[in-house]
């Protein structure tokens, strides 16, 4: 395995910029997820690393090699394609052995390494099946084994779970993560599923319209989003517009003052205040010591299993607050539409983000 360095990668299709000045260092053995809405350039970035898309400008280094000009077959990356792309005319064994044959390994070593790889993905015993005789999950494992068996410098996955049903997805997610950690694989994983990214990756790269919005650990991105896009894309956020009017003070457009942690980094330019729904509590009287407390009225109540979603009208905006379903009383009965009260949250739950 090796580190991967991307320097100012840009891909243009005519006037359209699919990937815009993308720079990223992936450490040896690190698991990085590229996350963003459809069409933001995730696949294009991954395919530039694999060599299927030529970068318009920029540099790609894998390990100590500058591979920018290399054809795909000389880059030594291991890619798992969205539709698996197994060779339909080859057995499971031949599929996995393909990369080793291309590297002209001897028969004995090929057999040994294929068996090892299939065991790793718990598919030993299916070696003579054709891909079409396998379930989606099994095909997925063959694709993983096929990419891993050649010991690539970097492991590239493009939405490898999107064809699996929800339950299987959870399982495979865990398996990929365990494999990745056990083998110390440098991994770049593309997904538009934020939960997948949050639970699997060491670091996330959030992209929008071809450009990196923020890079950081899952907790960093969730708790300290730098802009409105990230705050809204990772989890949900309530936003209030206005401007900073003093240290730790933000004046909403309605004139009300929201207090935030003055120690936290303050972005430049136009800002909004972002508050996570689970940080907002709703009560009939201001709780003692609560600093941000605003009158609110319940507009709708939705039962969501482990929690209750309250849609509140607060400071002229519609916001969402989550109430935990912790005591098991049918929670919907405790709150009703039209109920008046207060929405409350602490300054440390109040994030300033650029608009």
């Amino acid at each position: 395995m090796a580190k991967v360095q991307l320097r100012n990668l840009t891909k243009r299709y005519g006037d359209f910029v699919a990937v815009d000045d993308f720079s990223l260092d992936v450490a040896d053995g690190e698991f990085v997820a590229l996350l963003g809405p459809s069409g933001c350039g995730k696949t294009t970035t991954l395919r530039m690393i694999a060599g299927f898309v030529e970068a318009s400008t920029g540099e790609i280094r894998i390990g100590e090699r500058d591979v920018t000009e290399y054809p795909p077959y000389r880059r030594n990356t291991g890619m798992v394609f969205q539709g698996y792309a197994l060779f339909p005319h080859m057995t499971v064994f031949e599929n996995v052995a393909f990369g080793l044959r291309m590297r002209r390994l001897g028969a004995a070593e090929t057999h040994e390494r294929v068996a090892q790889a299939l065991k790793l993905v718990r598919l030993d015993g299916h070696v003579d099946r054709m891909p079409r005789q396998l379930s989606g999950g099994q095909q997925q494992r063959v694709a993983l084994a096929r990419a891993l068996v050649v010991q690539p410098d970097v492991f590239l996955l493009d939405e490898p779970l999107s064809n699996l049903d929800a339950k299987l997805r959870q399982e495979v997610r865990l398996e990929i993560r365990q494999l990745q950690q056990a083998l110390g694989l440098t991994t770049i994983f593309v997904t538009h599923d934020q939960e997948e990214a949050l639970t699997m990756a060491d670091r996330l790269v959030v992209m929008d319209r071809g450009a990196i919005q923020q890079v950081g650990s899952p907790a960093e991105l969730y708790d300290r989003p730098v802009n409105r896009f990230v705050a809204d894309f990772i989890g949900h956020s309530n936003f209030f517009n206005g401007r900073v009017c003093g240290p730790g003070e933000f004046k909403m457009d309605t004139g009300a003052i929201v207090r935030f942690d003055p120690e936290a980094a303050t972005p430049q330019g136009d800002v909004s205040v972002a508050v996570r729904p689970e940080r907002i509590s709703f009560g009939h009287s201001p709780a003692a010591g609560t600093i941000n407390c605003f009158e609110a009225e319940i507009e709708a109540v939705t039962f969501a299993g482990p929690r209750l979603d309250l849609i509140l009208r607060c400071e002229g905006d519609r916001i969402i607050a989550h109430v935990h379903n912790s005591d098991g009383n049918v929670a919907t009965e405790r709150h009703h539409v039209g109920e008046q009260g207060f929405a409350m949250w602490s300054p440390s739950s109040t994030r300033l983000v650029s608009r």
């Binding site: 694999a50 795909p72 077959y73 890619m79 394609f81 792309a85 060779f87 990419a147």
Partner: protein, 274 residues
């Protein structure tokens, strides 16, 4: 059970063949009607006369060469058509089909105008002082092959294209990703997966070549003979229906046999490709 299509095939394909089969065992009477007997003398005639062996061999040789050349010419074109995302794609497909809109005879006439000693090719080469005396291209086996290849290649392109369209491009990318050079990717992945198209295309084209009539007559000249022409001569010039019918069955048998053998060979070579 017998759908209308089956009945149609029976009536319009099988029936005429049965009639010809019956003719082929009749006895030829010069200048008269054939005798309704059961004899194998027409087939015996074919097996004894070297002239007809030579005609059959020429036919097979020309057909094999034309099939292989058209496969080699058509594959890159079909591959390009299958993979291109260009907006001009349907226009390109139209261009491939376009030659088929002109009849074989007219096309052969076109080749004559091009290849004749006073034709476009020779006069251009002479005007450019590349050659001193005109080249004899017309009335050679080469001219016939050029003519036939130009007719059958569109069929090959379309057959291959429809199969290549069905091959997921990411499978080729997976091969490249695993370290296969473009040539090995083609040999190990693209070609095996395209095999059904290669088999269908070569069979179709081979059959078309074996039965070519107008092109060999017009471009091959009087001394050049292929089977279709020989059969026609027997039937229309000498009125020898029984022998013509026997030759037709020999031609059909050889065509089917060679097609089946070639298919089996290709299928065995790429047995797991289906």
């Amino acid at each position: 059970m017998l759908g209308p299509a089956t009945l149609f095939v029976l009536a319009f394909l099988l029936l005429p063949m049965l009639v010809v089969l019956r003719y082929s065992v009749n006895r030829y009477v010069p200048g008269g009607l054939m005798l309704q007997v059961f004899t194998l003398e027409n087939y015996a005639h074919f097996f004894q006369d070297h002239y007809f062996h030579k005609v059959l061999l020429t036919t097979v040789w020309v057909s094999v060469v034309c099939t292989i050349v058209s496969l080699v010419l058509a594959f890159p074109l079909a591959y390009f058509l299958a993979r291109t995302r260009s907006a001009a794609k349907s226009l390109l497909v139209m261009l491939v089909v376009f030659p088929l809109l002109v009849g074989n005879v007219v096309r052969a006439a076109g080749w004559m105008a091009l290849l004749d000693t006073k034709g476009v090719v020779n006069s251009t080469l002479e005007a450019l002082h590349i050659i001193k005396a005109p080249l004899n291209i017309m009335y050679t086996t080469g001219a016939v092959m050029i003519g036939i290849i130009s007719i059958v290649t569109p069929f090959m392109v379309l057959t291959l294209q429809s199969v290549l369209e069905g091959i997921n491009y990411s499978v080729e990318e997976a091969a490249l990703n695993l370290g296969a050079s473009p040539i090995r990717t083609f040999a190990k992945v693209t070609l095996p997966l395209a095999m059904p198209g290669v088999i269908a295309g070569t069979s179709l084209v081979f059959i078309l070549c074996m039965n070519a009539y107008a092109t060999p007559v017009l471009l091959g000249g009087p001394s050049f003979q292929m089977m279709a022409q020989t059969i026609y001569d027997q039937i229309s010039n000498t009125q020898n229906w029984p022998f013509g019918a026997a030759l037709a069955f020999v031609l059909m048998f050889v065509t089917v046999a060679l097609t089946v053998i070639a298919q089996m060979f290709l299928q065995r070579r790429y047995k797991s490709a289906e």
